[in-house]
C-alpha cells in the first residue's frame, strides 16, 4: 500500500465505508528495500484515516526461516516477499486479500479473475479459474484457502492517474520529478542507495527523474522527467510509447513467464 494503485484502492475503500472506518486492516509486506519516502507516506496515510496498519518484514522471514538472500548487483527480494505474505495471511487467518493489480500491466495478470482463489500454498492455477459472470463474484473458499481480490482489474494506468487528479489523492513525492543520483543499467535508470552500490564500471550521474511505479529500490527504475505535477505526469503518460512495467520494472524481464511463475507460487 505504497504505490499509486494501492493508494487509489485505499481511497476507494474509504469512500465505500464512509462515514464508518475501513473495517479491515491495511497490510504492507516490507522488503527492507523500499523507498523511505514511500514508507513515510504509508505511515501517514494509515494514521490520517484511522486504519489499522499491519507491517511484516521480509528481513524477519529471512532470519526465521533461514532463507538465502539473493545476490548480485540488484539483489531483489521480490521473490522472497511471497514467503512473508503467506506467513502474514496465515498469522491473521485472512480469507481475502484485496490488491491493486491491473490487467493492463502484464499479460499473465490479464488472465486473472477479479476474485482469484488461491490454495493453501497461495498458488494460482490459471487453468482452474472460476467463471466470472456479470458482476457476480463467487468468494467462497475452503478452510486454508484465500481469495485475492482485484477491484481495479479493468482500470488502465491512465484511468488511475485521471482518477487521482479528479479526487485530489495525495501520492508519495517520488512520483514527481526530482533530482536523484542514478546509474544506467541495461538502458534503465536505477537509483543508488544502500542496496544498489555502483561499481567501477558504472557511470554515476545526477538526473531529473520521477517514478512511474513504486516497488523496491532494487527492482524499480526511474524515468527521466521534468513533470512536477499531475497534469504534466498525465501528459507524459499519454505521449509515452513504452509500457509501465517495461519502462520501470527490472524484475519482469528475466523470463517471459516471470509474473506467471511468481503468481503460481503465491505472489500477489
Amino acid at each position: 500500500m505504497e504505490g499509486k494503485d494501492s493508494i487509489t484502492l485505499v481511497h476507494l475503500a474509504q469512500k465505500a465505508f464512509a462515514p464508518g472506518k475501513i473495517p479491515f486492516p491495511l497490510v504492507h509486506i516490507d522488503t527492507g528495500h523500499n523507498f523511505p519516502e514511500a514508507l513515510d507516506f504509508r505511515d501517514q496515510l494509515a494514521a490520517s484515516i484511522g486504519a489499522t496498519l499491519v507491517v511484516r518484514k521480509v528481513e524477519d522471514t529471512i532470519k526465521q526461516r533461514s532463507l538465502t538472500e539473493p545476490k548480485g548487483k540488484f539483489p531483489s527480494r521480490n521473490w522472497l516477499q511471497t514467503y512473508t505474505l503467506l506467513d502474514t495471511i496465515e498469522e491473521f487467518k485472512f480469507d481475502a486479500c484485496i490488491g491493486g493489480a491491473r490487467r493492463d500491466e502484464e499479460k499473465a495478470r490479464a488472465k486473472e479473475r477479479i476474485f482469484s482463489v488461491r490454495d493453501e500454498f497461495g498458488q494460482w492455477d490459471p487453468k482452474l479459474q472460476r467463471p466470472e459472470l456479470w458482476n457476480l463474484f463467487n468468494g467462497r473458499i475452503h478452510k486454508g484457502e484465500n481469495v485475492r481480490v482485484f477491484p481495479i482489474s479493468n482500470w488502465t494506468e491512465l484511468d488511475i492517474w485521471n482518477y487521482i487528479r479528479k479526487e485530489k489523492i495525495d501520492l508519495p513525492s517520488i512520483y514527481f520529478a526530482h533530482e536523484r543520483e542514478v546509474v544506467l543499467h541495461e538502458g534503465q535508470l536505477v537509483a543508488t542507495s544502500e542496496f544498489v552500490k555502483p561499481d567501477d564500471t558504472d557511470l554515476v550521474m545526477t538526473k531529473m527523474v520521477r517514478y512511474r511505479t513504486v516497488g523496491d529500490m532494487t527492482c524499480t527504475a526511474a524515468v527521466e522527467s521534468t513533470a512536477a505535477n499531475l497534469d504534466e505526469v498525465i501528459s507524459e503518460i499519454i505521449a509515452t510509447r513504452i509500457s509501465e512495467r517495461g519502462e520501470t520494472r527490472i524484475d519482469d524481464k528475466v523470463t517471459e513467464a516471470a509474473m506467471e511463475d511468481r503468481k503460481k507460487n503465491g505472489y500477489f
Partner: protein, 413 residues
Amino acid sequence: MDLLRFITAGSVDDGKSTLIGRLLYDSKNILIDQLEALEKSTRNKANGEVDLALLTDGLRAEREQGITIDVAYRYFTTPKRKFIIADAPGHVQYTRNMITGASNASLIIILIDARLGVVEQTRRHSIIASLLRIPNVVVAVNKMDLVDYSQDVFNNIVIDYAEVAKQLGLRQVTYIPISALNGDNIVEKSTAITWFEGKPLLEFLEEVETGNDINLDDPRFQVQFVIRPQTEALHDYRGYAGKVISGIYRKGDKVRILPQGIDTTIAAVEKAGKEVDELFAPQSGVIRLTEDIDISRGDSIVKTDNLPLLSNELEVLLCWLDEKPLIPGNKYLLQHNSRLVKAVVRNVEYKLDVNSLQQQPVEGNVRLNEVVKAVIKTASPLVYDPYTKLSATGSAILIDETSNSTVAAVLIK
C-alpha cells in the same frame, strides 16, 4: 470517454488472437517494449514472422501449444473510444470462459474461417450471444486471403449465417470480410477486397451505437453492507451501502424492503459519507431510512410504485459450466448479486441443441456446456426481474457447496 466492451469468439485457429493483435498493432496501441518481447518470442519459433497472437496468449502453456486457454482482457484507446476486449478461447471445453467474457459485453465479434464457413462452434457462440442478449453481432469472415478474396465465398457465408441469426432473433448483425494476418479491413480498408463497400472493423467499432446499457426507470438496490460506526458522533447512524443496479433514489422516496415486505421512507442518500440529492445507476452509495428495520446483506430496497417479482420458484435457462454434471435434486447455492440462498434444480424440461436449436429431451444428467430449461426452487423467495427486462436482477450463478465452484449461469425467465 465512451467505452465499448466487446468479445471475440470463434473456433480454434480461426485467428482470434491474431485479429486482436492486428487491431492493437495497426491502431498503434502496442508499445515498444511489448513489440520487442513479441519479436523475441517469435524468434524462438519456426516460421520467423512476427506472431501477433503471442500478444494475448499470456500463459506459458498457451504459447507452447499455440492456443488460448483462458479469457484475456486487452485495453486500447483510439481518439473516439476506449475499448475493453475479452478474448475468449475457441475449443469446446473452454466455452464456459466465453460465457464469462460475453456476460459483460455489448458487442460480439464472431470469427468465421472463410474456408470452413458456419460450423458448430459458430452456432454455439451465436446461441450464447442470443441468450445473453448481446445487442450487436459482427461476423468477421477471416482468412479471405486464403480464398482469393472471393466475393462468392463471402456471400455464401452471409446467407448461411443470416439463417442462424434469424432463428436466434439476432437483429443487429454486420458482416465484414477480413484477413487478420494481412490486415485487410481491420484498421485500413482492404485494397484486395474491392467489392466490399462497408467499413473496416475498427471504424465500425468506433462508430457503432451500443445503446444505453444503464436503466434509470426501474429502481433496484441491493444491500451489500450495513454501516454502523457506533462512534460518539454517529451513535445512531445506520446506513445501507450498496450499488444502485438501476433507477434513481432520492430523499423522501416511498420504498419497500424485500423480501420482508416492509414499507418505509428514505431519510437520506449519501455518497462517500456526504448527503447528495440523488443516487442513480450505476453509482455506489448509502441509503438511510426513516425507521429502524432489521435489514441485512442481500435485502432489496425498491420503490413501492415499481416492484420487482418475488418468488421461490423460478423458471430458468441454465448454462452448465462444470465438469461434474448437474444432478437434479442436488442442493446448490444460488448467488443473486449479494444475496445467497440455498436452491435445488428441479424439472429439467429440455435442452437446446446447439446445431438445430431444437428443444431436445434430456437423457441422464446435464453436462458441461449444455443449455437447459429448468425450474429452480429456492429456500427463501428471490427478488428478481426477468433477464430480458433487467439482466442485472435477472441473472444469477449456482455454486456447488462442496467444491465451491461456480457451476452454472442462470438466466431467469
